[in-house]
């Protein structure tokens, strides 16, 4: 039996990828794992519920969008610019990590996670939220509900969420321009 394939090209973490022959019906998550060895986005439920598998799609206007990879076909991302969790930290010319992203750093400082399975999804979700607030700052009193609304869909089975919430809140408050005076 042969599996029908199609050429796929896209940009991942600022690197051009492809054209590669990828099975037509392959989900993005499998493509990332099996073809590119990018295994940071977690397979949790495989049904679009837990959001452990999300990555970022960078839209033409620069806005970031969070997308599940377990339920979206790899070819959906053809021609798009995406950022996986491997692409958040700062790296030097050799590819070695020199600094975590502010969101990653905040989660560590707040002991936000325990087993860490859900963490890539939270990193992705919180990064997208920060990007949205940069474009549309909110008032202080809207902050907690906004964080809850943005990250509520991410399921964590260990941490109880509070330390994720605190990490994101503190980071947003420390970052100029996200909350209106």
């Amino acid at each position: 039996m042969t599996i029908a394939t199609k050429k796929l090209s896209l940009t991942i973490n600022d690197q051009a990828v492809g054209p590669i022959d990828v099975p037509e019906a392959m989900m993005m998550q499998d493509f990332l794992y099996e073809y590119l060895n990018l295994t940071a986005s977690r397979m949790g439920c495989g049904q679009g519920i837990c959001h452990a598998c999300t990555i970022i799609v960078e839209k033409d206007d620069g806005a970031l969008e969070e997308t599940r990879t377990c339920i979206m076909g790899a070819h959906w991302f053809a021609g798009k610019k995406v950022r996986t969790v491997e692409g958040h930290a700062k790296r030097d010319a050799t590819g070695a990590i020199v600094a975590l992203s502010p969101v990653q750093q905040a989660f560590i400082e707040h002991f936000s996670f325990q087993c860490g399975y859900c963490t890539p999804g939270f990193v992705t979700g919180a990064t997208v939220l920060m990007d949205q607030l940069k474009r549309n700052p909110i008032r202080r009193e809207e902050l907690e509900p906004t964080i809850v609304e943005a990250l509520d869909r991410h399921i964590c089975r260990c941490s109880g969420y509070v330390r994720y919430l605190e990490a994101v809140r503190d980071l947003i408050l420390q970052t100029p321009g996200l909350v209106k005076a």
């Binding site: 037509e24 019906a25 989900m27 049904q47 679009g48 076909g73 070819h75």
Partner: protein, 428 residues
């Protein structure tokens, strides 16, 4: 000659005016509430009736409309958007001031069956044209049951209707054309089951209020009884025997679908989800069977079940199929499966889904654009939310997808147009 004509015209105007006046003051209104209902029920009678009343109220789905989202039970407040303005369901808890606590038995009967409340005519958002067919015993039972509920001191919200629709007395005209003069009586030629089914369908569950299309006056069109209607942007499908069969139902599957809200035909969504949630899941097996038998026009449930023939795929242009398959694989197959088979207890199958088989593509387009919220069904069934794709897919992609899905699995001609998708987007 001219003078004669003028005289005749003047006489006609006066006659019409007189007639309208008579209608307006209610001269043509017929109450179906018998004289003996004036007699109050005794405390013992009320007690004896209340338990059955709980069941009747569930079958009549009173709670769903008379309780606002997150509001006090039975205290009304749920908004109804109509083309003439917004109405609010009323407080029917036994609160003396705001509810029906001081209503007499006869006043309650007249509200439910004649559409005339204490403060005048009710708006037909209250399905009194259907409840008119309720038996006096059932109305008594609901009355007794409601009086056992906790009184809720919640004021009623006044209707926000435009002139002249805000004149309650004007409903005498609506009633003249749309309210049957008498309640339906049993059909002696049909079985008890069939008659019970009709009573449930027409009187208690008031199915026709959504599934029967409405005429210009917004009355139910009896010539198109239960043949389906568009409401709040979705199709309430044809639930005649022909319509149900086209959707892939047979009597026993329909009865279980009304109980559980889930079957191979899909998961109840939109308003029908609430109907299952508040009403039909609590109906007895016998009643659900009767309802189902009646809708299939049978005197009893069949002993064996023969599922309707699956629809034959309809040919579709190759470019539409190619566009649709690409979309399907990219954004649908992850959950609904490469072959539309779904995942048991998680995602409904598409191969047997009613939305693909309806004559109108509206419900499918709507689901693709807006998604469906997570829902808890009776028992332990849960459906995860279906994401909406309105920002991810173009009108063309949605139209192609809908046409291909409906042609391949629903046996429907590919007649969804770009305009249909555009219109559905606008209607939200």
């Amino acid at each position: 000659m001219l003078k004669k004509l003028l005289l005749v015209a003047a006489a006609l105007v006066i006659l019409v005016g007189l007639f309208a006046g008579c209608v307006f003051i209610g001269l043509f209104e017929k109450s179906v509430v018998a004289k003996d209902i004036e007699q109050p029920l005794s405390v013992d009678q009320m007690k004896a009736l209340a338990e059955r009343g709980a069941y009747v109220a569930v079958a009549a789905d009173c709670y769903a409309c008379h309780t606002a989202k997150d509001g006090a039970p039975w205290a009304g407040g749920l908004p109804f958007a109509t083309p003439f303005g917004t109405l609010y369901a009323t407080n029917i808890s036994p609160d003396k001031e705001n509810g029906i606590g001081s209503w007499t038995r006869a006043e309650f009967h007249r509200a439910v069956r004649d559409g005339i409340g204490r403060r005048g005519h009710l708006f037909p958002a209250m399905p009194y044209a259907s409840y008119r067919n309720m038996t006096p015993e059932d109305v008594d039972a609901v009355y007794a049951y409601l009086m056992t509920r906790a009184p809720m001191n919640v004021p009623n919200k006044p209707a926000e209707l435009t002139f002249p629709f805000n004149i309650r007395q004007g409903l005498t005209f609506w009633n003249l054309f749309n309210l049957p003069g008498s309640a339906a009586s049993a059909d002696a030629a049909r079985s008890e089951t069939w008659n019970r089914g009709r009573y449930l369908t027409d009187a208690l569950a008031h199915c026709g209020e959504c599934h029967t299309p409405r005429n210009l006056l917004m009355g139910m069109r009896q010539d198109a009884y239960l043949q389906g209607a568009l409401l709040e942007g979705v199709v309430a499908p044809d639930i005649t025997k022909a319509g149900l069969t086209q959707m892939g139902f047979e009597p026993s599957v329909l009865a279980s679908f009304m109980k559980s809200g889930i079957s191979n035909q899909g998961a109840m969504a939109n308003q029908m989800f609430e109907v299952v949630h508040f009403s039909t899941q609590y109906m007895s097996r016998d009643d659900l069977n009767a309802l189902s038998a009646y809708l299939f026009d049978l005197d009893k449930m069949p002993d064996s079940t023969i599922p309707p023939e699956p629809p034959k795929p309809v040919a579709i242009a190759s470019d539409v199929a190619a566009s649709a398959k690409t979309t399907y694989v990219a954004v649908c197959s992850g959950c609904h499966g490469a072959d539309g088979q779904g995942i048991p207890h998680v995602v409904v199958p598409l191969t047997t889904n009613t939305s693909l088989r309806l004559s109108s593509g509206r419900n499918l387009i709507r689901a693709v654009l807006d998604g469906i919220p997570a829902q808890h069904f009776p028992g332990l069934e849960r459906m995860q939310p279906m994401p909406g794709f309105k920002t991810l897919l173009t009108d063309q992609q949605v139209a192609d997808l809908a046409n291909w899905l409906r042609a391949s699995w629903g046996g429907q001609e590919p007649k969804v147009t770009l305009d249909d998708v555009r219109q559905t987007r606008l209607d939200n």
